[in-house]
Subunit: 340 residues, 2 copies
């Protein structure tokens, strides 16, 4: 066992001062070539690497980013995370992940934990509970302390910071329009409760599209479900009680469950009922028929979020740049579950 070597060790061994070693390794011209060579050779031999913690303390920069997401066993969040990690890594940053598990308290505790020096900035998607409570004091305090935050996907207007979001309303509009253009008129929406900004936007896009196509909005055709648990029963009832020829689902699970229910009830997808779901995940690609989906480009979103954050952290803080909200254009991927 050979523990890590420090500047002090090198200095002692080579009978020079710590400062000399430090300078020599940074190729300072204050140090003679001879001494530099000796020190570098020694350092190389013993595989010297500066201690990150000491550097962090000195520089007041950790080169760590805190990522707080509601869930990790979740296609969209993992793709975003991959984008973040990729870009951060390229830029020399490491990523500390905390899972809020949709809980307000966990979100708060984790962020406060990390904020005490462990990270230089946050990338965050709000937990369900936080959105429901509409309480963002923890974020405000962190921003107040000068810690930059980038929100993605599940964002809020209450907080002024950089954000990356999807054009949810527009793409929902586009999807519904696609239904209309392929002959559908009894268009349903399966969604979650409205405290999610994304659900709200998607619902707005849905109603807007109906309106602009002069289709009356029937509240019975909007099914609001609890978050991503098995809702087969409710869905079955929904399709038995209503005449429906197209469904937009705000997530992949809903879409796949919906397809399964509809097929079980004897309908043909897409001829009797068209389905489009949000999130172009693995489920959509391996179902039959394959699900038409809305690709959210999570990886791109993650990269962008990381870029925004790192830019802000590394910008010379003289001119405070105004906060940006970047919008990612979702893509409607037409596959077998809709008429094309």
């Amino acid at each position: 066992m050979k523990p890590k070597i420090t500047l002090k060790d090198i200095a002692r061994e080579l009978d020079v001062s710590i400062s000399t070693v430090s300078k020599a390794l940074k190729n300072s011209k204050e140090i003679s070539k001879d001494t530099k060579d000796r020190i570098k050779a020694f350092a190389k031999f013993y595989n010297y690497r500066p201690n990150n913690i000491a550097l962090s303390l000195k520089n007041k920069k950790t080169k760590n980013i805190g990522v707080v997401i509601p869930d990790i066993v979740h296609h969209f969040f993992t793709t975003v995370f991959r984008g973040i990690e990729k870009y951060a890594n390229q830029m020399g940053y490491n990523v500390i992940v905390c899972i809020s598990d949709e809980s307000f308290d966990k979100e708060v505790i984790n962020m406060e934990m990390l904020a005490n020096g462990s990270i230089d900035g946050f990338i965050l998607s709000l937990s369900a509970e936080t959105q429901r409570r509409n309480d963002f004091t923890h974020l405000k305090e962190l921003l107040d302390q000068g810690i930059p935050i980038v929100l993605f996907d599940r964002v809020t207007n209450e907080i002024e910071c950089d954000k990356v979001i999807l054009n949810d309303a527009e793409i929902a509009y586009e999807a519904v329009n696609h239904f209309v253009n392929t002959g559908c008129s009894k268009i349903a929406l399966i969604t979650t409760e409205n405290y999610f900004n994304v659900s709200e936007s998607r619902r707005n896009g849905y109603t807007e599209a109906l309106r602009s196509n002069d289709i009356e909005i029937d509240q019975n055709l909007i099914l609001t479900l609890p978050h991503e648990i098995d809702n087969t029963g409710l869905m079955t009832k929904f399709f038995q009680e209503n005449k429906i020829d197209a469904v937009l689902c705000v997530n992949e699970i809903f879409a796949i469950q919906c397809m399964s229910v509809v097929q079980y009830l004897g309908f043909n997808v897409p001829n009797d009922i068209s389905i489009i779901g949000f999130t172009d995940g693995i489920l959509s690609r391996y179902s039959s028929p394959k699900l038409s989906t809305i690709a959210q480009h999570g990886e791109k979103m993650g990269e962008l979020a990381a870029k925004l954050l790192i830019n802000r952290m590394e910008s010379v803080e003289v001119i405070e740049e105004p906060f940006k909200t970047e919008i990612i254009d979702a893509t409607l991927i037409k596959r077998g579950s809709s008429i094309n």
Copy 2:
């Protein structure tokens, strides 16, 4: 904007020494109740929190765990990660994630980066390339430096450290046995190349089971495919050229693709062909028929890995405990894709 307050600030403001403040906040009885109260009140008011970095430097403990996994958009790894994060969090640790992307170089670089003080220990699943090259010098060096490592799932015998693995051979044996018991005899295996320890174990379990049931091992019934890309063509050919009544697939993607191919060829699942796949992920639960799978209990695996690591890190290093290899018992979940 109010930046973080430090001990020094409190000391200056209250006209005491830094040591006094530190002691007061730790409730040392060296300090009089009066002074303690004053200091605590002040600290509370200004929301003082000790700086993690300073603590890390002092204590030579970061309370960070490095997790290095080949991929994150992957059901099994995310479940393991969730287990790690959950346990680590409970124990006051944070988790830094690096994605090796199945690349040897990334694995090495990331680990060396983190090893310079950023973390106290690693939890790692080997990248494909690392397993192929069979080069573990980076791990050996880290262990040599006294940094504990826990390997999970994709492990190697070349390295002495704590490990958590699945009883892959046994559960493959059990699955094949299940096929035999339900009347199958032309049992195929769809697997990946053998440099993965897990593929090897699963293949061994498969052949063992056949042998013990006096079924001849037909190499034509073992299909070796590249890693998780679309192999529909090869699979179709495989099923056209061979008489097969059951298939064991070493991952979920293979299983779902396999089912799709088989159904496309006009076979009924499970009556003509039974299918069992590894990984009880989201695909298996939403296919039709639902896939019979082998649940790997990723979350449990992650928790256990974290527990092993933290135990080792926190154990008084007097008696070096011997390295353990914990084995997680997989569960065969019988669903619609096999005869039960």
